[in-house]
Amino acid sequence: MGQLRLLIQVAFRNLFASRINLLIGAIIFFGTLLVVVGGGLVDSVDTAMSRSIIGSIAGHLQVYSDHSKDELGLFGQMGGEPDLAAVDDFSVIKPLLEKHPNVKTVVPMGTSGAMVTSGNTVDLLLARLRELYRQRVDHGETPELREQLDSLKGHVRHIVTLLESDLANKDTLLSDGALEPADEEAIAKARSDAFWAGFEQDPFSALEFLENRIAPLLPDGTMLYLRYAGTDLESFQKSFDRMELVDGQPVPPGKRGMLLSKFFYEEFLKLKTARRLDLIKRERDINKKRIAEDPEMQRWVKENTQQLREFALQLDPLKTKLAIERLQNHLGTKEPNLEKLLASFFATTDDNFDARYATFYKDLAPLLELYRLRLGDSLTITAFTRTGYVQSVNVRIYGTYQFKGLEESQLAGGLNLMDLMTFRDLYGYLTPDRKAEIAEIQKKSGVTAVARENAEDALFGSSAAPLVADATPGLLNDKEGMDGMGHLRREDLAERVYNQQELEKGMVLSAAVILKDPSKLKETMAELQQSAKDANLPLRVVSWQQAAGIIGQFVMMAKMVLAIAVLIIFVVALVIINNAMMMATLQRVREIGTMRAIGAQRSLVLNMVLVETLVLGLVFGAAGALLGSGLIAMWGHAGIPAGNPTLYFFFSGPRLHPTLSLGILAAAFVIVLVVSALSTLYPAFLAARVSPLRAMQTDE
């Protein structure tokens, strides 16, 4: 094989003989670098994201009703939740799907969203006071109870004082913000010593006065949008291995209940001051940012020094005293004003942050209610049902959960989990229980079915399933529900344990399918679709990518952009290499003619030119691939920080550790070979046609 060796030798020596070759080499080098680095990154994001999506909620496949107007979008879509038709009976589709040998589990599901009010400090206090006075009625007074009562009362009084000074400020600021005379009167009454002196005589009416007249003046409860997925929680936890309980306990099997996402709990229900401290800590620890340089962190610090009201409201006089002591201690001052102490305490810098963070959680947090909602409490969720009625459901929050690696991701973290029964209630689907309950209420109160929300019916109820057409009797006001029979019924519901059959025999919006062998996803998808068709069930079977909606398309889009970039680069490379090789061939006609004259066949000349470009491609391509693999390996080791929590989802965690698959390297290799071969075909053909006569030319 002396000949081939010769050709390769000629090729190598020609490699650096001309500038043109260096130009071609540079193009191939950067092209390969792009393929390897770009491909590696996109591939890794793809893998990471598929892990995020599959492991958090989608499973490998999702099955939903073919009557749906919109396509399934588990993470929502632009303009809210997609319009899906319900699958009336999960117990029909489950066995159908489970029959397939590649299906591991089928998990029932439905996602939706509703508004909730996060509790208002004074509401919570008053509710607790009421509870304590009830206890006193039932069991009599103990010194302990007395102490608790006085403390709470002190706190409420303290809040009223704060409220008065707040409103006085507002009065001077906004001329038209003047308080109604009735409200002023109410505050004056609540401030008066007489009111508090008379409190013990009739605590319940005093409480009622506070609840009705004072609490509404405190605007610190916020409306929150709560996205939730109703599912069989037990099966969900088993099937989605990324899910883990953080605090609290799992919802007991068969019971109604909810697990809030840890992210949601922290972001929306935690005391803002504490949340901001956590965020600053995260930026410092994970993203290695510094307060001195980062405007966002500076904003958090500033807000912490200014927005102290929520904080101050939480402290009763006793706790205020403790807080002042502790702050004075830590700061080493004698400043007696709590707000001033807090403002200087929260004016954190890079130097003192860690110490203050620790002090906050050690000394101040125990005095505070860090979250607006305690685990074990109930949350009232108010949703529009499919028919447009407003439906309110009380559901107990058992704990918080998170998806491993996606702790900080809004996308994954925005989703809260609830049991199927509650979901169906909110959706407007009537369980037999609920139907019975409603019938009883109607009979007792003599109310005939009132469709109060008829106007909304026209707006929302366009594609009502026949199942829910018989409708709920308008608003089940939770105030009504808290009293008398309704209250009891709700307690019953909260305690009720549903069996598997009850859970499954009912409506769902979709079903997540977990596969045994995910590599056969495509085939399984087609086969399941076929078996649904055979069984005459109007179902759509989609992959996790499609089920994730826009987010699922993200990687596809990134891949396409990359492919187009690569295509453009290589088309340019193709043209340039082609021209360059033509020029090189023309420069070498005499040399080629000489070879032909002394006995080289055309094929040899052809091979010579081809080998030359191949060698060029391989040498510079290998260099590009090497650098690319080096970069990926480096990033794979150190991890690329997501920086922005939005990216956590795509990175499947705070850092992406990209890896390079052999496929990408092989693709780069093939692309380089094909491009160099294609771009040289014509020059090589021309070279082969060079006549031996050209050797005789004396062109000097």
Binding site: G2, Q3, L6, Q9, V10, R13, N14, A17, R590, E591, T594, M595, R596, A597, I598, G599, A600, Q601, R602, L604, S691, P692, L693, A695, M696, T698, E700
Partner: protein
């Protein structure tokens, strides 16, 4: 010459026309020529007389418009492109006016090149053969050099070695000394002559130079695409002198 031998080159009534657009330029007009093995022949004639054209036909790098060109007993008209290439590879060696070495290859590799094309010898045999020729042309110690590190005379000696490395029956050289000074040119012709005598290789070369012509056994004189005569070198010189006087 030697009547019992068959000629290595046999040309019969050959014409060669070049067409330049619509104009037809007759470069050769009915040429007959026989060259026998071992001859050392010079082709002489004024510029444009058709020397290069004739050598190209003999060297199988071009084809005649009419007539028969036989090389080593084969009618070149009847051979395919591939066969012609093989004929050149195995039977003919070329020495060019501008040396035509492959610039990126070393002296050794340039000389080895035709052997690699032939695929007859293994690596060790090739090495022996190449070194033997480099010694003959006096460049053994330059085997690793690149052509651009050599003088013109040295380059032409490499070219001579390359032309002879396959032990061809016939070596063609179109004005091999035209790009060299007269002393160096003289050396090249001496070298060729030496190889002709030692190895019995047939040489046909063209030249303007009377001194170069001196070394030839015979001089074929061309004018206007026709062979005037075939004479000894002494006769040719006399004729040239006379021609010069006539002007």
């Amino acid at each position: 010459m030697s009547a019992g031998q068959s000629p290595i080159v046999s040309i019969f009534d050959v014409t060669k026309d070049y067409s330049l657009g619509k104009v037809v330029v007759p470069a050769l007009r009915g040429v007959d020529l026989k060259v026998f093995p071992g001859e050392f022949i010079s082709i002489a004639g004024p510029s444009g007389s058709g020397k290069t054209t004739l050598l190209n036909l003999i060297g199988c790098v071009d084809t005649a418009t009419a007539g028969v060109v036989s090389v080593a007993g084969q009618d070149t008209k009847k051979l395919t492109e591939k066969e012609l290439t093989n004929l050149r590879l195995h039977t003919i060696g070329f020495i060019f006016q501008s040396f035509n070495l492959v610039s990126v290859l070393s002296v050794f590799q340039n000389v080895e090149f035709p052997l690699l094309l032939q695929r007859k010898l293994n690596k060790a045999e090739r090495k022996d053969r190449v070194m033997q020729l480099l010694e003959q042309v006096g460049l053994a110690q330059h085997e690793k050099h690149r052509p651009n590190e050599l003088s013109g005379g040295q380059r032409q000696r490499v070219a001579v070695a390359r032309a002879l490395v396959t032990r061809p029956q016939l070596v063609l050289a179109d004005e091999p000394t035209a790009n060299l000074d007269s002393v160096t040119g003289q050396h090249i012709i001496d070298l060729m002559k030496e190889l002709n005598q030692k190895e019995g290789t047939t040489f046909i070369f063209s030249t303007h130079d009377a001194k170069v012509m001196n070394h030839a056994n015979a001089v074929v004189r061309l004018a206007d695409g026709k062979i005037l005569d075939r004479v000894t070198s002494a006769e040719a010189q006399r004729a040239m002198a006379a021609g010069a006087e006539g002007h």
